[in-house]
Symmetry: C2
DNA sequence: GTTGGTGCAAAGTGTTTGCAACCTC
DNA sequence: GAGGTTGCAAACACTTTGCACCAAC
């Protein structure tokens, strides 16, 4: 049964299993949320002193190519990465940056609609919405109130 | 009747109406699509020689704050801007970068669902989806075909 | 005339790259 | 041992900032 037990898809694809790649994968899996390259570097460097940022960038790129990591644009124009393990989506507050997760099921119907109207197939593994969180909404509305009459 | 005819919301808010701001606003409105800061700089600089990139960045930021421009993350981790005039959304191909527009109506139902489940109010002015365009999809599928059996 | 806005140039940030040494296979 | 990976350091692209001058009000 050994061959099927191989825990590292990288090996089976012919890539080398380096401490750097393992450290970064572990960071992503343990964080279980989106992290910026710098955050990933900091956490991985704790486990693997001597790790460099260049390697983090290269590895994140590599892991994304191999389907082991997902990349998204959560705001501020920069990229964030997360493990490819779980199927969920993000809702980001434009005002405070707070994020909420969206259940995958909610989007399924919508995907079908998009696909039939545009031919595009939505990347089911990760979608990001921008909006305003309840707290910021409240604040914005109170400003409007005080503004009129 | 003059006061009510003022065509520039900036003036009425107490901001100055400079050639730079007008040029950049015009570029956004005429492009009628998303542009990167560099593209905006290039186009605006044709109309207003001497314009600098620093001013473009400052102005885009300013216009976004004032609600006259919208900012979005369309891929590659960088920001793009567009006029706040029209209500549409983007679908970006992760493979080739091609974009499609999505009708606003399609999303309205979804927004309601999100709002009730998370309390977030989706930014109705701009949403971006990532996926794969028909052409790239076809290519990806043919690769899978050739890969198996 | 005031004060906000711009140009200029420099610095800052995040990311990529070339190359020799290294380590996984 | 061979070749894929990494560390190092430099280069790179994009964006922001300080300050003096200018122009819109």
């Amino acid at each position: 049964m050994q061959p099927e037990l191989d825990p590292h898809p990288l090996r089976s694809k012919g890539f080398r299993l380096t401490p750097q790649r393992l450290a970064i994968l572990n960071v992503l899996q343990e964080a279980d949320c989106h992290l910026s390259p710098v955050e990933i570097f900091q956490r991985a460097e704790e486990r693997l002193p001597g790790l460099t940022e260049a390697t983090v960038y290269r590895t994140l790129d590599f892991l994304t190519d191999q389907g082991l990591a997902l990349v998204a644009h959560l705001g501020s124009g920069h990229l964030v990465y997360e493990t490819a393990r779980h199927e969920h989506h993000h809702l980001v507050c434009r005002t405070c940056g707070q994020t909420a997760q969206i259940d995958h099921a909610v989007l399924e119907t919508l995907y079908a609609q998009f696909q039939s109207s545009t031919g595009f197939e939505i990347d089911t593994s990760h979608v990001v919405f921008f909006g305003h969180c309840p707290a910021c909404l409240k604040e914005m509305k109170s400003k409007v109130e005080s503004g009129r009459s």
